[in-house]
Amino acid sequence: MSAVGSSVTGFKEGDKVALEVGLPCGSCPRCSEGRYNICKELKFRSSGKSFPHFQGTLQEKINHPAKWCYKLPEDVGLDVGALLEPLGVALHAFRRSLMPKDATVVVYGAGAVGLLCAAVAKVKGAKKVIIADIDQGRLDFAVKNGFAHASYLVPMKRGKDIDENLAIAKETAKAVGEIDGVGEVDVVFECTGVPSCVQAGIFVSHLARKKNKSNLTIFSVNQARWPPHARRHGSPHPDHSSRCRCAA
């Protein structure tokens, strides 16, 4: 921080901070229930999703509301501070997954977000996290550095029609399930966007939420599934941060 506004408290010049670079409206129904990430008026730096674009983060100095700045503790450096943004995606995915402890997990994609999803699942007590990718180097990285317990190299195979593609996805699901005899798994984090991985993800999942109250099959991107406040503060995850900033 190079300067602090006169009415800002809790920060001082020289503090190391991480910025949350999406600024929501703060008053719509989504914001009111704490789901400001899907606020329609959200202005997000470095994103081309909404127009006109909000100025991005490729600036040496940036004027940003203190509300969306997070002070980094002494033992967290700026590099890791910069990783809090993609880590947020992984944590959000974990929270929405209702993953129980001792779950078995498959993560498709060993890019940064896939690695972070695997890491969060592991940190949150998953019994077995298997990461799958087409790149052996990424898989080796994941296992060697503690992001996942095991890995599966997905063969590059493409069918000529939907039936063949679904058959390939079933094969992939079966092969992943054979890693350490894990079988069908509790939670799948699909981090590729590739149709064959989404398909394989469905085939490798079992009664995903049998331990929870939800018995609905929901296909949704933005639909409210549960009040996020209750979601964070109630059971299944009593480990939420006491400093959570939810609006509700």
């Binding site: 490729l58 880590l87 149709p195 991985c197």
Partner: protein
Amino acid sequence: MLVGMGHPIQTIPLGAAALREVDIVGVFRYSNTYPESIEIVQASKKSPDGPDFSKLVTHRFKGLEEAVKAFEMAGKTKDVDGKLVLKVVIDTLGEGGESKL
């Protein structure tokens, strides 16, 4: 959990999902995650088998004038030496202000 954003329109075995009560859940960015994310990276540092988050930064460039090179690198999966490319950092701090991992 649909985290990846590749193809917005896909053919998926919805029946297979429905018959086994597999929930397909969308994920868009995050909300209220930073404080807990900080706790996660701190806890991982102290745990012997915890993921080493700092390893994700594989390449770094100094100053905004290097931004084009940094983006080119970020678009690759491996650099010219065959080393994995994951996260690329552009460090805009002045001399002596390097971040400490």
